[in-house]
């Protein structure tokens, strides 16, 4: 079957990242569009498969282990870029910085006096009854007041093109390696597509991250030793750990490389024990320290929490940030921004109904077929029920679950995610996308221009998570004047 040419692309009534609002008279990015249309679809395919082969050769992969073998898979990569204007980016950047600032102030408060709870803005049981609230950290004051050093704020775009926050990721958000590697791939495979555009660079991420992590070293130590703590080669994000360690030029350590002596952290080198000042950890709280959290964990370091509390080492992100990016706390974010900063949230939330509140539960049950219901604890797109697409039986099951444990769920209206032209098995199709910008915070916050565009490669799907068949695109932030 011949592939459908790009000129027959139809955005299906959604907001399109390339063409703009449905029915717009002129394409938003007309020049880039014309350039793309001029390619033969077969040529696009050929170049795409070449690029994909290169990902395998370079080992930009995640590994799936079976009993017999270890198989390297690549995250599907779409070669048609997603483009953001300078104005869009300015708006996103300001909104993300505001959001991260509020998250850090919230965490300082929650592990400090808890003023926001006493003032009645947040219900206490939502915080103190939350499994991700780590009571061990009460009273902890991290360097620079920063709890969330690396944040990934997931954004989506509505029918009219406005950006909304879907989720805050304040634990160990991943994906930034793909932002950088996708760009390098595009530069090699499609230099002609990029020609003439001034696309903001993403290459300095490692340098900026290292700078911010150095800022939070205990006791303002000059030239601190920063390491990245990984669960090891079997972790599906291992490539990203390698990438980050390499880009920063720091050791990629595992728990077994570290020991604690007198509440200080040391790594075992060929020249003996070397003191460690800052740990960018890519291990969840639960596995960090068997003395305090999961006692069966062999991934972490015994005594690490004591070293943190003694102020001898700084963990990024801090322990206990999971309480702030909870889906239930998310619903309060506009009020949290207002409370600490006295400002309106620059990036609004998706309207959210907190099912623990009786009115919200009643509304959700009455409108189940129009709403998206999400469990508050899960991540990776698991357990989500999309009302308009669910069967009668699925809706009934969902209602029963809601009634049984309403506090476990939130609901949101169905948002039409924007689409972006994407090369699929049967030609270029409108596929739904989201955007995860990455913000890095030491003394201040810096946002990597662009971010990770995830694309739902399955026809009609709105779930972009890589665990559910999602892919990625290169994300350009361009100067308005070019080309």
């Amino acid at each position: 079957m011949p592939l459908k040419p790009l000129s027959e692309y139809d955005q299906n009534g959604f907001y399109c990242e390339m063409l703009g609002e449905a029915g717009a008279t002129e394409a938003k990015l007309s020049q880039l569009w014309e350039r793309l249309v001029s390619y033969d679809t077969q040529e696009l395919e050929d170049r795409a498969s070449e690029a994909t082969g290169e990902l395998l050769d370079l080992g930009i992969t995640f590994t799936v282990y079976s009993e017999r073998d270890a198989i390297d898979r690549i995250l599907p990569f779409d070669i048609i870029p997603r483009v953001l204007s300078a104005a869009d980016w300015q708006h996103i950047e300001a909104g993300v910085i505001q959001r991260v600032t509020a998250l850090n102030l919230l965490l300082q408060d929650l592990y400090g006096d808890g003023k926001i709870v006493r003032d009645g803005v947040l219900p206490g049981e939502l915080i103190y009854g939350n499994a991700n609230f780590r009571k061990e950290m009460v009273g902890y004051q991290p360097p620079c007041g920063t709890f969330v050093h690396v944040a990934g704020v997931d954004l989506i775009r509505d029918d009219d093109g406005s950006f909304l926050v879907l989720e805050d990721n304040a634990r160990t958000p991943s994906g930034v390696s793909y932002v950088v590697e996708n760009r390098h791939l595009m530069q090699r495979a499609f230099p002609d597509l990029l020609a003439g555009y001034t696309v903001r660079s993403v290459s300095e991420y490692g340098e900026r991250l290292h700078e911010k992590l150095s800022e939070v070293a205990p006791k303002n130590k000059d030239d601190p030793t920063v390491v990245l703590l990984s669960p090891g080669v079997f972790n599906s994000a291992y490539f990203e750990h390698i990438f980050l360690a390499r880009e920063m030029g720091i050791p990629l350590v595992e728990g077994r490389d570290l020991t604690i002596k007198d509440d200080c952290v040391f790594m075992q080198t060929v020249a003996g024990m070397k003191r460690v000042d800052v740990i960018y950890r890519r291990i969840d709280d639960d596995f960090l320290d068997p003395d305090v959290f999961n006692p069966d964990s062999a991934l972490g370091v015994r005594g690490l929490v004591r070293a943190v509390l003694a102020g001898n080492v700084c963990l990024a992100n801090a322990i206990g940030t999971g309480v702030a990016d909870d889906k239930a706390v998310y619903a309060y974010m506009p009020r949290i921004v207002q409370y600490y900063l006295g400002e309106e949230a620059i990036l609004p939330n998706v309207e959210t109904h907190i099912c623990r509140e009786p009115e919200a539960l009643a509304y959700t049950l009455d409108n189940l077929d129009k709403l998206v219901v999400k469990p508050v604890g899960a991540s990776g797109g698991y357990g989500i029920v999309i009302g308009p697409k669910a069967s009668r039986a699925e809706l009934e099951q969902c209602a029963a679950q809601l009634k049984a444990a309403p506090e476990e769920y939130i609901s949101q209206p169905m948002i039409n995610l924007s689409v972006s032209p994407t090369l699929t098995d049967d030609g270029v199709a409108p596929c739904h996308v989201d955007l995860r910008p990455f913000a890095v915070t030491g003394r201040e916050t810096w946002v990597l221009p662009g971010g990770l565009t995830r694309v739902a490669m399955k026809r009609g799907s709105i779930i972009v998570n890589s665990s559910q068949g999602g892919g990625t695109k290169d994300t350009w932030v361009i100067d308005e004047t070019s080309p």
Partner: protein, 350 residues
Amino acid sequence: MTDLLSRYAESLFWFGRYLERTTCLARLLEVQTSFDRGRSNSGNAWSWILTLYDDHDRFRETYGEPTTSTVIRFYVADPKNLGSIVASIRAARENARTLRAVIPMDLWHQVNVFYNRFRDPSPAMLVDQRLSHTCQLIKKECYALEGVADATLYRDVAWSFFQLGLLIERADQMSRLLDVRFAQMRDQADSAQDGLGDFGFWSVLLRSVAAQQAYLRIHPGRRDPESVAKFLIFDPALPRSIVFCSTQLEHLVHGLRRDYGLRGATNVLQKLDDVRQLLDIASNDQNLVRELHSFNDQVQRDLGAVTNELATHFFNPIQAQSEDSGDVVTPGQSQSQGSGTNATQNQSQT
């Protein structure tokens, strides 16, 4: 850089060893294939390789009586044989994978492409007519990998540990090969065959260690067993001779102490002194060729001791310290440090 993680040092060492092991085995099989052609159809012509790696028992468990094709499968394509080419490439690549933040991207790229190309050789690559070609390709990939390492790897302690692994394996392989080949010739001589005088035999031995041209340049027209053995053991200019390897090893370990202040290097040097002494005595020994087995035995034992010292002082030093203080020593998770196939039994990435 002296803040190289101990675990990285160990991975670099084993990356070097597995790479060299692959090179040696591929070259050996390549030469054996050409040599074997037209001479013999029985597995006997190949079973000496089982002796070389001490694999007779493990081989018989799976394959029974050795035949040409099963020995080839066992050493090229059997992933369960941890001493096979596919398993060695895989082990080299797994070690390189943990080193990706340390080694140049080009080096990783090379090893990854190599692995993906040969991870699962098709039966067509192993048939008689193709085997020599396949082994040659593998050998060339190994040379290319060594070349990329040489051209790109930063010359600090990371390079030293990589080279230490490579050179120890190289010396060990040479010693094993001499041992088995000379024993084989003596057996044949005893049974009144053409024995030690077999011109073709020495030619094959020299070719299987890439030393044929060099030997002929130094000894035009000659191919007697004694001069071949001495050349392969003592020639200071032959990159695979035992003396060449031990000299390089000394140089590297001296550097660890002198340039990077690594104190554990002193203990490693002591073990290298043993190797040096053994070689000095042997070079004056009139009966060396007749006593080659005990010499080779000692070489392999001494190299094992060097590896042990490296492990104690650099790879698993926490255990060394707790030994000093009388604490209970837990078994390390290091990769085995012997050589040959038994050596490949465990991998640190468990």
